[in-house]
Symmetry: C2
Subunit: 225 residues, 2 copies
C-alpha cells in the first residue's frame, strides 16, 4: 500500500462526517418547501369561491413566495457544509445553535439529550471550524458509548480564546434506537484530523470533551448573513 498523506486522512474524516450529517442536511433542504404545497391547496380552493377574497389570495401567494425564498437560502446554506466558505465566521453562540439544530433529531432518536448552557457567547470563531469540530466531537463522544447519555454544552471565554465543553452523564433512556443505520462511527482520529486542519484544540475523556477555539478579532461584520 502506498503511503497516504495526512491530507487524505483529513478528507476521509470530512467525508465520514458529511455522511453522518447528510440526513439532517436533507431535512433542511426540504423543510421550507413542504408548506408551499399546503398553502397552494388553500389558495386554489379560495379561487373557487363565488366571490374570491383577493386579499387572502394575495396573502397565500406571498407566503408561497416567502417559503420559496427561504428554501433558496437554506439550500445555499446547506451547501456550505459541503464547501466551506473561506474566512466565514460566526459567534460561538450561533455555531453551537447551528450544530445542535443539525444534530438534535439524530441525538433524540438515539436516546441522547443535549442541553445548551453555552449562553450568548459572542466571541467570533471560524464558522467552518466550529461546525466541523463541534459536530465531529458530538458524534465521536456519543458513538463510542454503549448507552445513551445526557450532554451539556458550556462555553468559557477568556484571554481571546473560547473553551467549549461537552459534559456527558449516563441517562436512563430506554426510548432509543441503535446507531446501526449510520454510515460509520466518527472516531477520535477523525476528530483529530479535522481539528488540526482547523487549528482547534480537542481533549477528551469519557465524561468531558474540551474544544479550544482561538478567537478571531473580527475585521468584517460578525456574521455572514
Amino acid at each position: 500500500m502506498d503511503p497516504i498523506s495526512d491530507a487524505i486522512r483529513l478528507e476521509g474524516a470530512r467525508y465520514a462526517l458529511l455522511r453522518r450529517l447528510a440526513p439532517s442536511m436533507r431535512h433542511h433542504l426540504v423543510v421550507n418547501l413542504q408548506p408551499i404545497g399546503m398553502i397552494y391547496e388553500v389558495l386554489d380552493k379560495r379561487l373557487l369561491a363565488a366571490e374570491p377574497q383577493l386579499a387572502q389570495i394575495k396573502d397565500s401567494a406571498a407566503r408561497m413566495n416567502g417559503f420559496a425564498r427561504a428554501a433558496v437560502q437554506s439550500c445555499l446554506d446547506v451547501m456550505t457544509w459541503l464547501t466551506p466558505e473561506e474566512g466565514a465566521t460566526s459567534t460561538v453562540a450561533e455555531g453551537v445553535q447551528e450544530c445542535m439544530g443539525l444534530l438534535n433529531g439524530n441525538f433524540n432518536f438515539r436516546g441522547f439529550s443535549i442541553a445548551n448552557e453555552a449562553g450568548a457567547c459572542t466571541l467570533t470563531v471560524s464558522r467552518p471550524g466550529i461546525r466541523s469540530v463541534l459536530t465531529a466531537c458530538m458524534l465521536a463522544c456519543t458513538d463510542e458509548r454503549s448507552r445513551p447519555a445526557d450532554l451539556v454544552l458550556r462555553a468559557d471565554a477568556g484571554n481571546g480564546e473560547v473553551a467549549l465543553t461537552i459534559a456527558l452523564a449516563d441517562n436512563m433512556s430506554t426510548d432509543c434506537f441503535p446507531n446501526d443505520g449510520a454510515y460509520r462511527d466518527i472516531t477520535w482520529a477523525d476528530v483529530g484530523a479535522i481539528a488540526a486542519a482547523e487549528s482547534i484544540g480537542v481533549s477528551h475523556d469519557e465524561q468531558l470533551v474540551r474544544i479550544t477555539f482561538p478567537g478571531i478579532i473580527p475585521t468584517v461584520p460578525l456574521t455572514v448573513d
Copy 2:
C-alpha cells in the same frame, strides 16, 4: 503516521469528488426555485388589475407549486450524490446524461466539450457506480491535461457488460479558464479507489479512458423514478 486503510483512501477520493461536484449540485438545488419569485411577481401584479383574471392567477399559482414540487425532487436527488441509495440502478444512457448534466457547465467553462455518442444503451448498471466512476474519470482525464480537449463518450454493450469509453482530442479552444479555483485535481488513484469499491473496471491512456461496467439483470423496475 499510523497506517491508513483502503477504506480511508476511498473516503478521501469520494470527498474530493463531492467537492468538485458541489458547484453543480448547488445549481441543481436552486434551479427550480428561482422561477417561483418571477411567477409570483406576475401573479401579484395580476391581483392589482381592476378586474383580476382568476384563470391566469390560478395558472400562476399552479406553476409556483409545480416548481416547488420539482425543487423537492431535485433536492432529494442531489442528496443521493452524497448518500447513495443502496441497490439503485439506472440505464447506461440515463447515467451518462445525468453525469453530463452535472459536469457540462464546469467543462464548458474550462474549454472542454463533451459529445454524447453513447446512444440509448438500456443496459442496467448500478446508479451510484456509474455516477461516481464516470464523473471521476471525466474529471481525472481533463484535470491531467495542460490544454483543453474535446471528449466523445461511446458505449459498447455485449456479453452482459458495458464498456463506456471517453475519447479525448486536443481542441483549439482559447475561450477557457484554468482550474485554479477547484478544490483539487481528481487523480487516477482516486478513480481507482472508487472504481474498485463499485466493482467497475477502468483503464486509461492519454487518448482514451475505458470504463467496464458489469451489467445488472434488473429484478426491479429499471429506474428509481
